[in-house]
């Protein structure tokens, strides 16, 4: 039975748990734990809008709002923790609502999961804002457990108010 073919999948509960864990880390500013949820080869991608209904789909030829590898994610945390960016210091309080979690099965070696998000963000003195969109995840089982190898964030805001960063989408 050598070379067994393994059908990769996870339960909705397991996928949801990882997505909720990520939201918890971001909302509680547990940055190192958040980074640890990503594989070393992870890709984090927030495409830009293209026309009224479309999104950019080729990061090598189109502009994205964010297109980062793990080093890019670590740099975002470095920027926050440096307290030298007037856009990220002070940070707003954020509350991620992650819902509609669906496991779609395996594709290209990753377990595909989609979800819907709303983030309420409150910056003192400036007030609150609500932003929403969709997530597409590519998850992978590792020796450390289920991890994020790909995350795609669709941000629905067209006239963006305030900064967009890893903590508020």
């Amino acid at each position: 039975m050598g070379g067994a073919f393994v059908i990769m999948t996870v339960s909705t509960a397991a996928a949801s748990h990882l997505l909720y864990r990520e939201a918890w880390c971001l909302d509680n500013k547990r940055w190192d734990e958040w980074l640890a949820l990503y594989t070393d080869d992870a890709v984090y991608w927030a495409p830009a809008m293209d026309g009224d209904e479309g999104w950019t789909d080729d990061p090598d030829n189109d502009v994205s709002l964010m297109y980062m590898d793990k080093a890019g994610l670590e740099a975002r945390i470095f920027r926050i923790e440096g307290h030298d960016s007037c856009a990220t210091d002070p940070l707003p309080h954020t509350a991620h609502l992650v819902t509609n979690v669906l496991v779609h099965g395996e594709e290209d070696g990753l377990i595909r999961v989609s979800a819907t998000w709303i983030v309420h963000s409150y910056a003192r003195m400036r007030g609150g804002s609500v932003r929403g969109g969709l997530y597409e995840y590519g998850l992978r089982e590792t020796s450390d457990g289920l991890r994020i190898a790909a995350k795609k964030v669709f941000i629905h805001d067209d006239r963006i108010v305030g900064p967009i960063d890893i903590y508020n989408v």
Binding site: M49, D60, E74, A75, C86, R159, I160
Partner: protein, 438 residues
């Protein structure tokens, strides 16, 4: 309320140049700006690559007026008020799109891409022919529309001087961007539109302000520098940035120019020009253009701020930025990445990544700029009689061309060595005060 002339305290003989902060906050001044500047000046609309084929259109606005740019059946690009000739509904349903026939969604009148009315629904039965003649059913073109090397501009004043006369001293610096592209330039897919709770003129100043870079963007430099230590090798070749140079104490050959008509230039020699996306074109460019011009193209980063609300930035990447006033305290900002057509994949990828690093509301730089300008807006409300004193660089200001300008063969009205100078702002504020006071 003070007049615009009183808000700019410009006394060259006494070495005084100050701007009263009411210029950023006064709603009456804002109304004057809408009429006297945004109603009379050439304003950037879009790039020709966005309207390349019959029916392609971009909907935007000039000041408060909705307009759209569309490519006609004859291949000619025109700009019309975005208003149905019947009862004033906006015609375009999208921010951009393609339509050989535009149908008004209110009552169904149809217009072709050349602006001619092709259908008045039920018109034969209900209108007398002289009714339609009197009303005029075709779309109204804006008063003036023009292209400079693919950059499309519109102007609502039929008596304004021609586009190239208006661009004037900025033209050689615009050419430094477009002449890198033998096959022309194109806007890359991917939109960005964001709001700033601050006056539009703060963005005009910020776009050419070299003085804030070492403070506001210090964290950009350290963050990108840190990222490069995490990915040794990944930051080589064209991906290598020169962000860390922001923190360098070395004297960087740089300067600022007033090139007339309110246009401002800020430039600095690049740290590693060979990592620039157009560097592989250097030999071809040297055959075509004088050495001094090629040096300016590839070895000098430039910000070209065109009066009143356009930035062409050609430093690590290449960005078009337009900031459109909404009210005295609110501005809508839109940016695009522009690149030479048929660029090599590695160059294109590096250009895009560096653009995303800096120019978007999700980047490592623009959000800090926005917050800094919003802080300036709040502070501008604070004092009954607060003045911004723009004396930085007064000591080193010279009339005419410096050595670098001579290398390009241009003669600015004045030159100033060093990026950390405010004297280029004089160009903008003199034009601003002049237009509001005429």
């Amino acid at each position: 309320m003070a007049s615009a002339r009183e808000l700019v305290d410009d006394r060259p003989d006494d070495n005084i140049f100050r701007v009263n902060r009411a210029a950023f906050t006064d709603p009456v001044i804002f109304e004057q700006e809408m009429t006297e500047i945004f109603g009379r000046t050439w304003l950037y609309l879009c790039h020709e690559s966005q309207v390349a084929n019959h029916g392609d259109y971009v909907a935007t606005r000039i000041g408060t007026q909705p307009v759209f740019v569309i490519c006609g059946s004859d291949g000619e690009v025109r700009c019309f008020y975005d208003v149905c000739s019947h009862r004033g509904s906006r015609l375009t349903g999208r921010t951009s799109g393609s339509a050989k026939v535009l149908t008004c969604r209110y009552h169904g009148w149809c217009f072709n891409a050349d602006g001619a009315c092709t259908l008045v629904r039920g018109g034969d039965e209900a209108y007398r022919p002289e009714d339609l003649d009197r009303m005029g059913t075709d779309l109204n073109p804006i008063e003036q529309f023009g292209s400079y090397k693919g950059f499309l501009f519109g102007c609502l004043d039929a008596d304004a001087p021609p586009l190239e006369e208006f661009l004037g001293g900025a033209i050689p610096f615009i050419d430094l961007m477009t002449d890198q592209a033998p096959d022309g330039m194109e806007i890359l897919r991917g939109e960005s539109r964001y709001m700033m709770e601050a006056n539009w003129k703060l963005q005009t100043e910020n776009s050419t302000d070299g003085y804030h870079v070492a403070t506001v963007h210090r964290n950009f430099a350290t963050t990108v520098g840190y990222r490069e230590t995490l990915a040794p090798g990944g930051g080589d070749g064209m991906a290598k940035t020169e962000a860390s140079r922001i923190l360098s104490l070395e004297k960087i050959n740089s300067g600022g120019y007033d090139v007339g008509n309110g246009h401002m230039i800020n430039w600095a020699d690049r740290g590693n020009p060979e990592a620039g996306p157009s560097w592989p074109q250097r030999d071809v460019l040297l055959e075509r253009y004088p050495d001094g011009k090629v040096k300016w193209m590839l070895e000098r980063g430039r910000t070209v701020t065109v009066f009143p609300n356009l930035l062409l930035n050609d430093v690590a990447s290449s960005c078009i930025r337009v900031w459109r006033p909404v009210s005295a305290g609110l501005t809508e900002i839109e940016t695009w990445c522009i690149a030479p057509k048929n660029e090599a994949p590695e160059a294109r990828r590096a250009r895009i990544r560096k653009y995303e690093d800096f120019f978007f509301p999700a980047s490592l730089a623009v959000p800090d700029d926005v917050r800094a300008m919003e802080g300036a807006q709040i502070g501008s409300e604070a004092l009954e009689d607060g003045w911004n004193d723009l004396a930085l660089g007064h000591k080193t200001l010279v009339d005419g061309a410096d050595e670098a300008a001579q290398e390009l063969g241009v003669t600015p009205l004045n030159s100033n060595p060093g990026r950390e100078v405010e004297t280029p702002f004089f160009a903008f504020w003199r034009e601003w005060a002049g237009r509001l006071s005429s």
